[in-house]
C-alpha cells in the first residue's frame, strides 16, 4: 500500500492550557443554569450566563486561532491511566487533554460562534417559558456546548466518546424539552435509541483501535500511521473504519440510521438549528475527517462512505420535496447535505466535506432560525400551504429576506458559498478514476437540482405570493403569555394589520413579529453565510489560497487525502473533463443549470400558478405506473414502517411471547401452582376445623391416643 505523507507531529505545550477554558466555561455555565433552575429564577439570568460563557469560549478559540503555530497536545490532568505490565498492549491512557490542530480550530470556531448566536436568538425565542423551562433549556445548551467542545478538542478517542455521548444526552434532553407532549418524548427516545446503535459501532471501533495500536491518543495513533506498515489485510484492521463509520452514520443521520433526525424537529427550533443542523450532526463528519488516515488505508471503506452519502443525499432530497412542514423540509435537507459531506469524504476530498460543513452550518442555522421566527410569530404554524406572502407583512421583511439568503445558499445558487463547497465535492467525484464515484457525482448533481426545487418551494410558498396566513392550532411555547406579547407589540407601535383574506378565520390573531434578538441574529447569520464564501471567491477569482483548504491541509484530515492526491494527479494528467469541457468550467455550467433549473421549476409550480402543483400531483397519482413516486415520497419511502416491521415488530412479538410465558408458565404454573398445593392439602383437612373447641381437643387427644396405641403395638410386638 502507499506510504502516507507524514502527519505533523504534535508537540506537548502545557502553556496553552488556557484553551481549556473553552471547555470549562460552558460547564460552569451549565452549573449556573442548573442553580437558576433549582432556585426557580423567573428572569433571563440563565440566558445571559449562557451567552456570556459561550461568547467567552468563542473568544478563547479566536485567540487560540491567532496564537496557532502548529499541532499541539495540551495536557490538562491525568484522567484514566492503567498499567498492568510494561509491554505495548499492557497500559491504557486517556488523559483529559486537548489536541489542537487546524481541524480542531476550524470546527471549534463555528461550533462556539454559532452556539453564541443561537443562544442570543433563543433568549428571545424561549421567553414564553421564563420561569418554567427557560433555565432548563439553557442548561441543555451549555451541556451540549461542553460536550461538543470535549468531542472536538479532546486529545484521545475516549474524550471524543465522552463528548459524543454528551451531545447525544443534550440532544435527547432538548428534543424532549417539551416533555408534556408525547410526540416530543417519543422523538427524544427515538433519537437516543437510534444513536445508541451508531455509538455501539464507535465504541467497538475504539476498542479495535486499542487492540491493534495499543493506544487511543491521537498523537500516538498518527505517529503509528506515519511509520506506515499498517497494510495488513487482517480483518481486525479493516473492520476499524467500518465500525467508526457506523458511529458517524448514527450521529450524522445517514442511511441506515437517519429516521431520528426529522422527528427531532419536535424540539424547540433553536435546538434544531444548533444541534440538529449546524453542529452535532457534523460530529460524524468530524470523526471521519479526524480518523481519515485509517479510512484511507481501506478504499472499500471510503467507497462505502461515498455510496451511503450519495444515496442518503438523494433519498432525503426526494422526501423533502413532498413534505409540507417547513421544519421537516429543512430537516430532510440537512440529512441530504450531510449526505454530500459523506460523499465528499468518501471520494477523497476532506476539504470539500469540511468546507461544506462550514457553509452548511451557517445557511442551515439561518434557515431553521427563520422557520423558528415564523413558528414563534404564527402560533406554531409551519404548514407551508397555510402561510403565504410573508414578505409583505410589516415586521417580517428581515425574516423573509434572510430566509431567501438561506434558500439561495442551500440551493447552491451560483457564486454563493455553498456553490463552491458543493462543487468541491462534486468535482472530486466527477473527476474520479472510479466509475461508481463518477456515477455518484452525477447523482449528486441531480440531487442538487432537487434541493434547489424543494428549497424554493418553501420560499415561494411562504414568503412570496399574495399575503395570507392561518395561525397554528397550538399556543406554541407561550400559551399563557400570548397576551403579553401582544401588549408589547402595541407599545412598539407596529401592530400587524390582520389582512382581509385571513380576517375571517383569524379575527383575534395578530402575528407578533420578531424583535431585535431574533432579527439581529438572522442578519449576522446571513452576513456569516456571505463571509464563509470568501475562501471560495479567493480561490476562484483571485487564485489565492483557500483558507478552508489550508486549515484542513494542516491537520490529520488531509493526510489521507494526500494519498488520494496521487489519484487526482493521475486524473489531472488526463485532463479530467466534464461534458467535454474543462472540469471546473464544466461543473460550473452543470451546477448552475441544476440550481437555476430547480429554482425555475419551483417558481412555476409554487408561485406563478400554484394550482399546477396540485394538478401535477393529481396527474401523477392518476397514472398507475408513476403513482408510487409521489406516494412513496410523501410517506418518506416507508422507511419508518419498514424499520417498524423488521425490527420493532419482531421484538414486540418476542416480548409478547416472553411476557405470555412469564405470566402463564413462570407465574401461573411455577409460582401459583406451587402455592396451590398446600391449599389443596388444606382443603382435605378443613372439615376438622369446625369451630367447636371440644372438637379440636378431641381430635388432638384422639390423635395422641392413636400414636400411643401404635407405639405400644410396635413395642409389644417387638417383645414377642
Amino acid at each position: 500500500m502507499t506510504q502516507l505523507t507524514s502527519i505533523p507531529q504534535a508537540i506537548i505545550a502545557p502553556e496553552l492550557s488556557w484553551v481549556g477554558l473553552a471547555l470549562l466555561l460552558p460547564l460552569l455555565a451549565a452549573v449556573a443554569c442548573a442553580l437558576c433552575c433549582a432556585l426557580r429564577v423567573k428572569g433571563k439570568a440563565a440566558a445571559i450566563i449562557t451567552i456570556l460563557a459561550l461568547a467567552a469560549s468563542f473568544g478563547i478559540i479566536v485567540k487560540a486561532y491567532f496564537a496557532y503555530t502548529g499541532p499541539v497536545q495540551v495536557p490538562i490532568f491525568q484522567w484514566l491511566s492503567f498499567q498492568w505490565g510494561t509491554g505495548q498492549f499492557q497500559s491504557f491512557t486517556a488523559n483529559c487533554g486537548m489536541y489542537i490542530d487546524t481541524l480542531t480550530l476550524y470546527w471549534m470556531l463555528f461550533v462556539t460562534g454559532l452556539g453564541t448566536l443561537i443562544s442570543i436568538y433563543a433568549s428571545e425565542y424561549m421567553e414564553g417559558d421564563c420561569g418554567a423551562g427557560y433555565s432548563r433549556f439553557f442548561f441543555g445548551i451549555c451541556i451540549f456546548l461542553f460536550s461538543m467542545s470535549a468531542l472536538v478538542l479532546g486529545d484521545n478517542l475516549i474524550m471524543l466518546y465522552l463528548g459524543w455521548e454528551g451531545v447525544g444526552l443534550a440532544s435527547y434532553l432538548l428534543i424532549g424539552y417539551d416533555y408534556a407532549r408525547p410526540a416530543a418524548v417519543a422523538a427524544g427516545k427515538k433519537a437516543f435509541i437510534m444513536n445508541r446503535i451508531g455509538d455501539l459501532g464507535l465504541a467497538l471501533g475504539i476498542f479495535m483501535l486499542w487492540a491493534n495500536y495499543g493506544t487511543v491518543q491521537y498523537s500516538e495513533l498518527f505517529a503509528a500511521m506515519n511509520k506506515g506498515g499498517q497494510t495488513s489485510v487482517d480483518w481486525e484492521l479493516s473492520v476499524i473504519p467500518f465500525l467508526l463509520m457506523l458511529g458517524a452514520f448514527g450521529k450524522s443521520a445517514q442511511i441506515p440510521l437517519f429516521t431520528w433526525l426529522p422527528d427531532a424537529m419536535e424540539g424547540p427550533t433553536p435546538v434544531s438549528a444548533l444541534i440538529h443542523a449546524a453542529t452535532m450532526v457534523t460530529a460524524g463528519v468530524y470523526l471521519i475527517a479526524r480518523m481519515y488516515p485509517f479510512f484511507e488505508l481501506h478504499p472499500e471503506a471510503l467507497a462505502t462512505v461515498a455510496w451511503v452519502g450519495g444515496l442518503t443525499a438523494l433519498l432525503a432530497a426526494t422526501i423533502g420535496m413532498a413534505q409540507y412542514d417547513i421544519k421537516r423540509v429543512f430537516a430532510y435537507s440537512t440529512i441530504s447535505q450531510l449526505g454530500y459531506m459523506f460523499l465528499g469524504l468518501g471520494v477523497g476530498t476532506t476539504f470539500g466535506a469540511c468546507y461544506h460543513t462550514l457553509t452548511h452550518a451557517f445557511f442551515k442555522a439561518l434557515l431553521f432560525l427563520t422557520a423558528g421566527a415564523i413558528m414563534h410569530g404564527f402560533a406554531g404554524q409551519l404548514d407551508l400551504r397555510k402561510l403565504s406572502g410573508l414578505r409583505h407583512l410589516p415586521g417580517w421583511r428581515i425574516v423573509s429576506w434572510t430566509m431567501l439568503v438561506g434558500c439561495l445558499w442551500l440551493s447552491a445558487f451560483p457564486y454563493t458559498a455553498a456553490f463552491f463547497s458543493k462543487d468541491a465535492i462534486l468535482l472530486k467525484a466527477l473527476t474520479s478514476v472510479r466509475a461508481d464515484f463518477r456515477f455518484l457525482g452525477w447523482l449528486g448533481l441531480f440531487t442538487a437540482a432537487l434541493t434547489a426545487y424543494y428549497t424554493f418551494r418553501v420560499w415561494f410558498r411562504v414568503c412570496a405570493g399574495p399575503l395570507h396566513f392561518e395561525p397554528g392550532a397550538e399556543g406554541h411555547h407561550e400559551p399563557h403569555d400570548t397576551h403579553d406579547t401582544h401588549d408589547k407589540h402595541d407599545t412598539h407601535g407596529k401592530p400587524a394589520p390582520a389582512p382581509a383574506s385571513a380576517a375571517k378565520s383569524t379575527h383575534a390573531f395578530h402575528p407578533h413579529a420578531p424583535r431585535w434578538a431574533i432579527n439581529g441574529v438572522l442578519l449576522i447569520l446571513a452576513l456569516g453565510a456571505l463571509v464563509v464564501g470568501i475562501p471560495g471567491y479567493n480561490e476562484t477569482f483571485a487564485h489565492k489560497d483557500n483558507w478552508a483548504q489550508q486549515m484542513i491541509a494542516g491537520s490529520s484530515a488531509m493526510e489521507g487525502a494526500g494519498l488520494a492526491e496521487d489519484h487526482g494527479a493521475e486524473a489531472s494528467e488526463q485532463h479530467p473533463t466534464v461534458l467535454g469541457m474543462d472540469a471546473h468550467t464544466g461543473l460550473t455550467v452543470v451546477g448552475c443549470t441544476a440550481s437555476i433549473g430547480g429554482i425555475l421549476v419551483a417558481w412555476y409550480l409554487h408561485l406563478r400558478s400554484r394550482k399546477s402543483a396540485d394538478q401535477l400531483r393529481a396527474a401523477l397519482l392518476r397514472r398507475w405506473w408513476i403513482r408510487w413516486v409521489p406516494i412513496c415520497m410523501e410517506n418518506k419511502w416507508y422507511v419508518d414502517e419498514i424499520y417498524h416491521a423488521c425490527f420493532r415488530l419482531p421484538m414486540w412479538l418476542g416480548a409478547q411471547i416472553l411476557s405470555f410465558g412469564d405470566r402463564h408458565f413462570l407465574d401461573g404454573v411455577m409460582v401459583d401452582g406451587l402455592a396451590k398445593l398446600p391449599v389443596a392439602v388444606g382443603k382435605v383437612f378443613k372439615p376438622l376445623y369446625g369451630g367447636a373447641l371440644q372438637g379440636y381437643a378431641a381430635t388432638m387427644a384422639g390423635g395422641i391416643a392413636l400414636v400411643v396405641a401404635w407405639l405400644s403395638w410396635v413395642w409389644l410386638r417387638g417383645f414377642n
Binding site: 378443613k686 372439615p687 376445623y689 369446625g690 369451630g691 367447636a692 373447641l693 371440644q694 381437643a697 378431641a698
Partner: protein
C-alpha cells in the same frame, strides 16, 4: 423439718411408682374429660391446669425413681410458666366474656373454617 412430718411423708415417698403414675393418669384424664365435656371457658381452663399437674406429677415420680433432680427442676419451671400463662389466659377469658357477654366456648365457634 420435724420428724413427724418427715415420717408422715415417708409412706408416700416409699409408695411404688405405679401409685404415683396412676394418680397422675387420673388427674390427666379428669382434666381431659372435663375439657371435652364442659363449655364454660374458665372450667375448661382449670381442666387444662389439671392436665398440666398430672403430667408434672408423673415427672416428679420418675425423678424420684431415678433419683435425679432435673425432673423436679423441670416441674418447678413448668409451675412458674403455668402461673404466668394462667394470668394471661384469665385476662383473655375476661376479654372474650366482654365481647359476647357469655363464658360459653360455643359462642366462638364461628371462628372455625366451616
Amino acid at each position: 423439718m420435724n420428724q413427724e412430718l418427715s415420717s408422715g411423708f415417708t409412706i408416700a415417698a416409699n409408695a411404688p411408682i405405679a401409685v404415683a403414675l396412676a394418680i397422675s393418669a387420673l388427674l390427666f384424664v379428669i382434666g381431659l374429660v372435663g375439657f371435652l365435656c364442659r363449655r364454660n371457658m374458665i372450667i375448661m381452663f382449670l381442666c387444662t391446669e389439671l392436665m398440666f399437674q398430672g403430667a408434672a406429677l408423673a415427672m416428679i415420680a420418675f425423678a424420684r425413681l431415678r433419683m435425679d433432680v432435673s425432673g423436679q427442676v423441670f416441674v418447678i419451671f413448668i409451675l412458674t410458666v403455668a402461673a404466668a400463662e394462667a394470668a394471661l389466659a384469665l385476662a383473655l377469658v375476661v376479654l372474650l366474656y366482654r365481647k359476647r357477654e357469655t363464658l360459653s366456648a360455643d359462642a366462638w365457634s364461628d371462628l372455625g373454617e366451616s
